[in-house]
């Protein structure tokens, strides 16, 4: 009883069951509020499009996900998802690869670091969306322009993260590796690289939010498919019954990617969190 009374105090100790219940509470309140508003608005005007009923949304989702589009002969939601995820994977994947190699070399080789750190820092501060027109001019409005936006939006941040992470490897370890017969190349790629791999996955996780932002933005401006394209297309018809499920679906995808990366870190690098990084 005491715990419950102290729920808002500094020393509150909610049990795990209580935690789950109160954690879900805001979501439940939000859904109830929506349903109430939707009910009364549709009651007043059955043709209202702003707050579709759950049934309407399920109906629309069925059409988008499980019915072949007559014009293209594909399942729209599936093809949209595939195109969007492909762009994110290519953009973020290449950013992770380039960021890792650039960051580790800058971190381990002081000459390389001194040469490139200022310019990388400079580029990492440019808002990527501000150079979107340049990218479209340079790389066209096709796939390359969109992938480049995601790539450029993430690569400098990841490079800097990898740079700082590889600098935290104690000097003693580098010397130790040399006394074990490692060459400079082996120190960088066999001793330091495996140690910063989990941190790379964490950096990619943190970049996912930005990557989705750039994806939706570039798809909204110039595209013929993709989740962002669809949302902005149906906006013309005020099709909230499609937009809301799509937003939920995008959220699910983001959550899924985040969880997969998180699991990958704890499965592949069990020493990472325990070793007190």
């Amino acid at each position: 009883m005491g715990n419950r009374l102290n729920f808002l105090g500094l020393h509150a100790e909610p049990s795990s069951r209580v935690r789950m219940l109160v954690g879900l509470l805001p979501l439940v309140v939000l859904i109830c509020a929506y349903l109430t508003v939707s009910y009364y608005r549709l009651h007043a005007n059955p043709r209202d499009k702003l707050t579709p009923s759950p049934g309407r949304m399920i109906e629309a989702t069925k059409t988008m996900a499980f019915t072949k589009d007559q014009r293209t002969g594909t399942y729209l939601m599936l093809s949209d998802t595939v195109s969007s995820v492909k762009r994110i994977a290519m953009g973020l994947g290449s950013a992770a690869l380039v960021g890792l190699v650039a960051g580790i070399n800058m971190g381990m080789l002081p000459g390389i670091g001194a040469t490139f750190l200022p310019i990388v820092t400079f580029f990492s501060i440019i808002p990527p969306l501000a150079i979107l027109p340049i990218l479209f001019i340079l790389f066209g409005v096709g796939e390359l322009g969109k992938v480049m936006l995601i790539f450029l939006g993430a690569v400098f941040i990841i490079t800097r993260d990898m740079y700082y992470t590889s600098r935290t490897i104690p000097r003693e370890q580098i010397v130790k590796a040399l006394t074990l017969g490692a060459s400079q190349f082996e120190v960088v790629y066999q001793v330091v690289l495996p140690q910063i791999m989990p941190r790379l996955l964490v950096a990619v996780r943190l970049s996912l939010g930005a990557a989705w932002l750039f994806l939706i933005a570039s798809e909204a401006i110039a595209s013929t498919d993709g989740l962002g394209y669809r949302i902005f297309l149906v906006r013309r018809y005020l099709a909230m019954d499609v937009i809301i499920p799509y937003v939920l679906w995008i959220t699910c995808l983001g959550f899924l990617m985040d969880s997969v990366l998180k699991l990958l870190v704890s499965w592949k690098y069990p020493w990472f969190e325990a070793a007190g990084k």
Partner: protein, 308 residues
Amino acid sequence: MNCVANALEVGSTKALLHVEDVCKAYGPKVVLENIDLNVRQGELCTVVGPSGCGKSTLLRLILGQERPTSGKILIDGQPVGMPSPERGVVYQKYSLFPHLSVLENVVLGKKLSASFLERFKLRTHFVEEAKFYLDKMRLWDHRHKYPHELSGGMQQRVALAQALIMKPEILLMDEPFGALDPGTREHMQVFLLELWEDFGMTVFFVTHDLEEAVFLGTRILVLSQFYSDDRGPSFANRGARIVADYPLARSASSTVVKEQAEFGKLIQDIRREGFDPDYLQHVTSFNLRHSDSFQTLTQEEYDEANHR
């Protein structure tokens, strides 16, 4: 700084490790000054000194992790360069790679020194060799654990195996037992002596613990910035020098010796010579009793010593 070598030098040719006239300064701050040192093969040479006197700096110079401002350091007659397999090292921490299991940590050195093809061909051979050392350390059963799953004493035993598998000519140890609790520490000291006898290792052991240094060493070097010379008492920027150098009788590898009166007496002497800021010996009167000991003095100091 005028460092002139002179006739007080003895037997530099047979030394495994030869340090002559080494000075190390960081900017204007002089840390080590005129370090002269010979270490024979098979010696367990301990280095003590007050905190901040540059013991670890000396070790890093020998290791090749840093370069001396002046002077020369030879191993087997060859000047030292970058860190390399003939000089093994065990640090207080960070000796082990956190992303490798115990076995992988020990095998790593063999792998890194092998060519790409040999890594596959000799893998079982490497593991067998690692087993020999891990058995010695009584750690074979823990071979699949990661370093963070081991106690401090076990981690240092893995670090020893990791260094020994490379068969270094000299093993440099920088306060290796400094982070261990007293019980484990004493256990590790005895253990190190067993290994030293088994493998006939040459060890250069830096510690701030005087008792540990006297117990372990066949020879003890005292490094200290508390001494006097002709630059006058107001001169503050003195680098540490070797102020005492004793041979130690290696009587028994039992900790019982720590209770004996002579043991305590020696510790008292060294504490005064090295650790007392008010007890300043002149550079020409250092207690360099060891037969391998030598000293290079400045010309003025040399003249003065000869006139006494």
